[in-house]
């Protein structure tokens, strides 16, 4: 099937009202779908109308709280609804992330858009379909079970039919979501499970798509924020005359430490922000980067979280046997969206409208309400798609700054961050330090496994990162630590007799933390799966067989992954390191396995690498993945996510590291914070296991988690040298080879 869509949401972006007119269900003898009159559209998560509407032409509008961060997920959400309602996909439009129209389905993160968001939509559609069938049965005088639906028309084969449009068109369902409403048998799926082409791509390919960075509102001014020269610096003085000569500058805004230039055109705002003279206090709040890990280790622990405990590791570790221990660490990373954060805000008649590419418009709305001491009802936040977003980057911060500026000048203001703003001020993936210890008996069996994770305290997934604009302006914003679900995958999928995994949730971390793709799960899996490989080598065992030895025999899906991976990657059974690694270019292969958060998506991976002993360069030449995320909605969409996870995480593993001095981030552009480029992208081999009768799980990030350990294990296989500190730079590789 090849269906293109014309998105119809632009009229909504341009300030259309959020009122939905509803009428009584004329002629209905059954339960009325709606009351008469006009009402604000519901966004209550227990209401079918929050998620779905069917108009008088039978067109279906889906209202999704989950947004498109560059994954194409609205196409998959449309597939789910079209399938469940039995309407043509072309009849389904999707509106996302508008607090006036879409339910609060939580932050678009954690690979939950399908797993949670899509499943909620499916249940809303199933509830709607069931109600429509009941109503049609009454109208047609036919038993409900004799009815079938063909593209939105309900009827008995060969008999009369009635359409969704006739039954409900333009009216509300006024129905609670029914968890018991029957969903379709996956065996009958016609749309779910197909690689439907993405609806947004043609516009993006021809320059017709409106990203947040392109979006404009009438009467809008351009703002640029002059972020402080040091984190925590106080604004001491501003010389407004220093930009008097720039035509188009409207106002220099300074609220507390929020300093900005607002201008009639973008270039005047940029020039103004560059030229504006201001003095700031000195501030040195950051640790010495060369002693980062000592700093992390010395940071006060706020709370201990034991994520698994089996048997008695202390006793086992005190006994006989071979003992291994290792420290793993993972550098601070930035999100690195190709389009820096951007937002527009407008205050009008006591109400605030905020347009941004926020992952969580409902949460942002609550944050803006707190910041401006306004009732949430007076704030509307609308999602407008930005550049790819891999976690909580700077969009919400730009939204807060735009709101301060809009209020100050009494006109809509667009804030566009510069590259340096984005690299310097978006919240960061925190540094992660992990200690591992294990004991093996004389036969090479693991008798104990202990691990300690030094990771920032904070809310589990779903936390909220404080708004930079509010903090700078001295306005209220809850500054809770929110690194994401960083304890995930600290516990392990292997059955050892004695296991203890402990998370030391440290009180602070050098930069405002937030989640970046697979937060914690990535860093923790890096350590666990690399150390598992160290143990396999110590036991003289094949890494694949060694894992199978300890996998739960009842976990058939996990075993399937490793079996299929062995075949796909042509896995040669032998211990690592390989024997013939004498040349300048050493080649090796490494395997890794993850069951994401131990409860969902399964992945097995093999990395093949080449290590240049002279330069220390590591090249990932091929990366093979077997992936089981249960029921697949759109195979090509899943594949694209896996490819993205591999490439982005090879980049993070080999190259990426935030640099800083005692005052600020110093890696402020793509030269100082490089990412992987075309010549270094590995060949990728991907095997999707589709399980239509299982629950759909996420694919947006789990495949990231397998990359660093697969590379570490392959480097070890090639050279006999273990890399434990991400990024694996040529300098670290050369040093490791020298000391081997």
């Amino acid at each position: 099937m090849n269906t293109h869509f014309i998105p119809s949401r632009r009229h909504l972006l341009l300030g259309g009202g959020a009122l939905v007119v509803s009428f009584s269900f004329a002629g209905s003898s059954g339960p009325a779908f709606a009351q008469a009159g006009a009402a604000a559209k519901t966004v209550a998560k227990d209401e079918v109308d929050a998620f779905l509407a069917i108009d008088t032409k039978g067109m279906v509008t889906v209202y999704s709280g989950k947004v498109d961060l560059g994954t194409g997920v609205p196409t998959a959400l449309a597939q789910i609804v079209a399938e469940e309602l039995d309407v043509a996909l072309a009849k389904v439009d999707v509106i996302t992330g508008d607090t006036a129209l879409t339910p609060d389905q939580g932050t678009t993160s954690g690979s939950f858009s399908i797993q949670n968001g899509g499943v909620q939509l499916r249940q809303a559609a199933a509830t709607a379909r069931n109600a429509l069938l009941i109503e049609a049965a009454k109208r047609l005088g036919v038993g409900k079970d004799d009815l079938t639906v063909v593209d939105g028309a309900i009827g008995k084969s060969g008999g009369k039919s009635v359409t969704y449009a006739e039954l409900i068109g333009g009216r509300q369902f006024a129905l609670k979501l029914d968890a018991a409403a029957p969903t379709k048998n996956p065996a009958s799926f016609k749309i779910v499970g197909k690689s439907i082409v993405r609806r947004d791509i043609p516009d993006k390919i021809t320059g017709r798509f409106t990203y947040m960075q392109d979006f404009r509102v009438p009467g809008m001014l351009h703002g640029r924020v002059v972020h402080p020269p040091a984190i925590g610096a106080k604004l001491e003085s501003v010389d407004e005359d220093s930009i008097k000569n720039i035509p188009g500058v409207v106002k220099t805004v300074h609220e507390g430490n929020l300093l900005a230039v607002v201008a009639e055109n973008e270039w005047a705002a940029i020039k103004g922000a560059r030229q504006l003279k201001a003095t700031w206090s000195k501030s040195e709040t950051l640790p010495d980067q060369s002693k980062l890990w000592e700093h992390v280790r010395a940071t006060k622990v706020a709370k201990e979280e034991v994520t698994s405990t089996i048997g008695d590791t202390a006793a086992a570790m005190a006994g006989d046997g071979k003992k291994l221990s290792a420290q793993y660490d993972f550098a601070i990373h930035t999100h690195g969206s190709i389009g820096p954060s951007c937002a527009i805000a407008e205050f009008k008649d006591g109400k605030l409208t905020s347009w941004s590419a926020s992952q969580a418009t409902h949460a942002l709305r609550r944050q803006l309400a707190e910041m401006f001491a306004m009732p949430v009802e007076n704030i509307r936040c609308l999602y407008v798609e930005g550049a790819g977003c891999y976690g909580r980057n700077g969009h919400e911060d730009a939204a807060a700054e735009a709101a301060v500026l809009a209020k100050a000048v009494g006109k809509p203001v667009r804030v566009q961050w510069s590259r340096a703003d984005e690299h310097g001020w978006d919240p960061k993936g925190p540094p992660t330090l992990i200690d591992l210890r294990a004991s093996l008996d004389a036969s090479g069996n693991i008798t104990a496994w202990e691990s300690e994770f030094f990771i920032p305290q904070g809310a589990a997934a779903g936390g909220v990162v404080g708004l930079l604009g509010a903090e700078l302006a001295g306005m209220p914003t809850a500054q809770q630590m929110a690194p994401g679900g960083v304890t995930g995958n600290s516990a392990i999928p292997y059955k050892f007799a004695n296991v203890k995994t402990v998370c030391h949730r440290i009180e602070s971390t050098p930069f405002r933390p937030s989640w970046i793709r697979a937060p914690g799960r990535l860093q923790n899996t890096h350590a666990n799966e690399s150390f598992m490989d160290e143990l396999a080598a110590a036991a003289g065992a094949d890494p694949l067989e060694f894992r199978l030895r300890y996998l739960d025999p009842a976990d058939k899906r996990g075993r399937d992954i490793l079996d299929r991976l062995a075949a796909l990657a042509k896995w040669e059974k032998r211990p690592s390191p390989q024997k013939n690694n004498a040349g300048n270019i050493a080649k090796g292969r490494g395997l890794t396995y993850v069951k994401y958060e131990l409860v969902r998506t399964y992945i097995g991976a093999v990395a093949e690498v080449e290590v240049d002993r002279t330069t220390g360069d590591i090249r990932v030449t091929r990366f093979t993945v077997v992936h089981d995320c249960g029921q697949i909605i759109n195979p090509d969409g899943v594949k694209a996510q896996i490819e993205g996870n591999i490439i982005q995480t090879v980049s993070r593993t080999l190259i990426e590291e935030l640099t800083f001095d005692r005052s600020k981030v110093t890696s402020l552009d793509w030269a100082s914070y490089p990412i992987l480029t075309f010549p270094h992208v590995p060949e990728m081999v991907i095997d999707l296991i589709d399980r239509p009768s299982e629950k759909p799980w996420g694919a947006g990030e789990p495949a990231a988690a397998v990359v660093p350990s697969a590379v570490s294990n392959a480097v070890f296989d090639a050279t006999g040298v273990r890399m434990r500190s991400v990024p694996y730079t040529p300098e670290k590789m050369k040093a490791a080879l020298r000391s081997a």
Partner: protein, 155 residues
């Protein structure tokens, strides 16, 4: 002082009124002419998202001052390369390969590739990768982009 700068963009002569003749072309295209194909990514010529063709050559518009241009120079943006009704072969190949995730960098990928293919009829995969080595993608769409460019070269 406001000055008027004449440009030839997508086959049409246009006049852009600016206060600063050294304003980069990117802002004239996006803000004065409403063309959204070229994107702001870094303003430093490092990522390629802003790429346009000037006389057939792929150029970073974020670091190209207006003062270096005149109406004789032919500027083409993504909008002028092809239209939804009449796609350029590279655009068609990108759609066929679904070679975009967020798609923010894709303007640069297409403009760089189209200029490259205009003078390199039968490139190897390594040639394509080298031609795109200075265009950054963060979503990890590289493999699809290379396939699309390869297919477009054959078209």
């Amino acid at each position: 002082m406001t000055v008027s700068q004449s440009l030839t963009v997508n086959g049409k002569k246009v006049a852009v009124r600016v206060d600063d003749p050294d304003m980069p072309l990117l802002y004239a295209l996006r803000d004065n002419l409403g063309l959204h194909g070229p994107r702001f990514g870094c303003g430093l010529g490092q990522c390629g998202a802003c790429t346009v063709h000037i006389d057939g050559v792929a150029v970073r518009s974020c670091v190209t001052p207006l003062s270096s241009l005149d109406a004789k120079k032919k500027i083409v943006t993504l909008e002028g390369l092809g239209t939804p009704e009449k796609l350029h072969p590279v655009q068609k190949a990108f759609i066929d390969e679904q070679a975009a995730q967020c798609g923010y960098c894709v303007n640069g990928m297409i403009m760089q590739s189209a200029a490259f293919l205009a003078t390199n009829k039968n490139p190897s995969e390594a040639d394509i990768k080298n031609a795109l080595a200075k265009n950054l993608c963060r979503c990890g769409t590289h493999a699809r982009i290379v396939r699309a460019v390869k297919n477009a070269a054959k078209a």
